[in-house]
C-alpha cells in the first residue's frame, strides 16, 4: 500500500467530511422553516426547493458527491468511508450548537462520536491506497500521468 496524500488531497477529504454534514444540517434547518410535508401535501416539496437553506443544502450535497468521487479516484474505499463517517460527528456538533437539538447532548451519542474519531484515526495514519497491477496496457499512460502529478 502507498501513502502519498498531498495537502490538496487532505483538503478533498476535509471537503468530504464537512460538505455532507453541513448540507444535511442546512436541509434540516430549511425543512423546519417550510414545515412538515405529508403525502397529501407533496406540493410543499416544490415550495421547499425555493428555500435558500434547502438550495444551499443541495449545493453542499452535490459538492460532497464530487469530492467523494475525486477521493475514490486516488484512495481505497476502506480509507475514504471512515472519513465520510466523520461527517456524523460534524452533524452532531452542528445539531447541538446550531440547531440546539435536545437529543444532541445524550451520553450515547458522545460515546458514538469518540468511537468514530478513534476509527477515523486508525485509517488516517495508514496508507491511502493499495498498489495494483495495471488492468490492461491502455491504462499505463493515465497511471504515468497520475504519478507525475503526485
Amino acid at each position: 500500500m502507498k501513502h502519498t496524500l498531498s495537502p490538496q488531497r487532505y483538503l478533498i477529504l476535509l471537503a468530504v467530511m464537512l460538505s455532507a454534514a453541513v448540507g444535511d444540517t442546512m436541509l434540516s434547518h430549511g425543512m423546519r422553516q417550510v414545515g412538515p410535508v405529508s403525502l397529501a401535501h407533496l406540493g410543499l416539496l416544490l415550495v421547499a426547493m425555493r428555500d435558500p437553506w434547502v438550495i444551499g443544502g443541495i449545493v453542499c450535497l452535490l459538492g460532497f458527491f464530487a469530492s467523494y468521487l475525486t477521493a475514490l479516484s486516488w484512495a481505497d474505499l476502506t480509507f475514504v468511508l471512515p472519513a465520510t463517517a466523520f461527517g456524523y460527528v460534524v452533524v452532531l456538533l452542528l445539531s447541538k450548537f446550531w440547531l440546539h437539538e435536545p437529543g444532541a447532548s445524550s451520553v450515547h451519542r458522545w460515546a458514538g462520536v469518540v468511537l468514530i474519531v478513534c476509527g477515523v484515526g486508525f485509517v488516517a495514519n495508514g496508507p491511502s491506497q493499495t498498489q495494483h497491477e495495471p488492468m490492461d496496457p491502455m491504462e499505463e499512460p493515465v497511471r504515468a500521468l497520475t504519478d507525475e502529478t503526485k
Binding site: L69, W74, L77, T78, A85, L92, H108, F122
Partner: protein
C-alpha cells in the same frame, strides 16, 4: 413478531429488509469505487481535459452508472424499510451493516489490502454509528 413504526412485522421480515438496504448500499459503493479506480485520478484527467472531460469520463462509465442505480435502489429500499420498521432501528442497523459489508466487499471485489487497522476502523465506526442513533 415485533412492534414497529406502522404495525407488526416479523423479526425475519425486519432483518431481511434492513439487509437488503445494506447489500444494495455496499453494491453501490463498490461499483462506484471500482469505476473511479478504472477511470483513474480525476485531478490528472481534469488537468488534461478540463472539468468537462472529467465529468464525461465519470458519467460515461457503465460501472459508475450501475453504482448510482444501486444507490438509488438502496435509498428506495430504506424508504420501504422505514415505512414498516422504526427508523431508530432501521437507520443505524443498515448504516452499521453497510460499513462492515464494505470492508468485506472491498477486500473480495476490489482486492484492497484491508489490514487490521482498517478492520478496527470499520468495527469502531460501525459501533459509533449505532450509538449515535440511540
Amino acid at each position: 413478531m415485533m412492534v414497529t413504526g406502522h404495525g407488526t412485522t416479523s423479526v425475519l421480515e425486519t432483518w431481511v429488509t434492513i439487509t437488503l438496504v445494506a447489500v444494495t448500499a455496499v453494491a453501490g459503493d463498490v461499483l462506484t469505487a471500482g469505476a473511479m479506480r478504472r477511470i483513474g485520478d480525476l485531478d490528472a484527467i481534469r488537468a488534461r481535459s478540463g472539468m468537462g472531460g472529467a465529468i464525461k469520463a465519470v458519467v460515461s462509465s457503465p460501472m459508475f452508472l450501475g453504482g448510482v442505480l444501486m444507490m438509488a435502489v438502496s435509498f428506495f429500499s430504506l424508504l420501504f424499510t422505514v415505512s414498516n420498521v422504526e427508523v431508530s432501528l432501521a437507520a443505524p442497523a443498515s448504516a452499521s451493516l453497510t460499513f462492515l459489508g464494505n470492508a468485506f466487499a472491498a477486500k473480495i471485489f476490489l482486492k484492497e489490502n484491508v489490514d487490521h487497522r482498517r478492520w478496527l476502523a470499520a468495527v469502531f465506526v460501525c459501533a459509533g454509528v449505532f450509538l449515535l442513533s440511540r
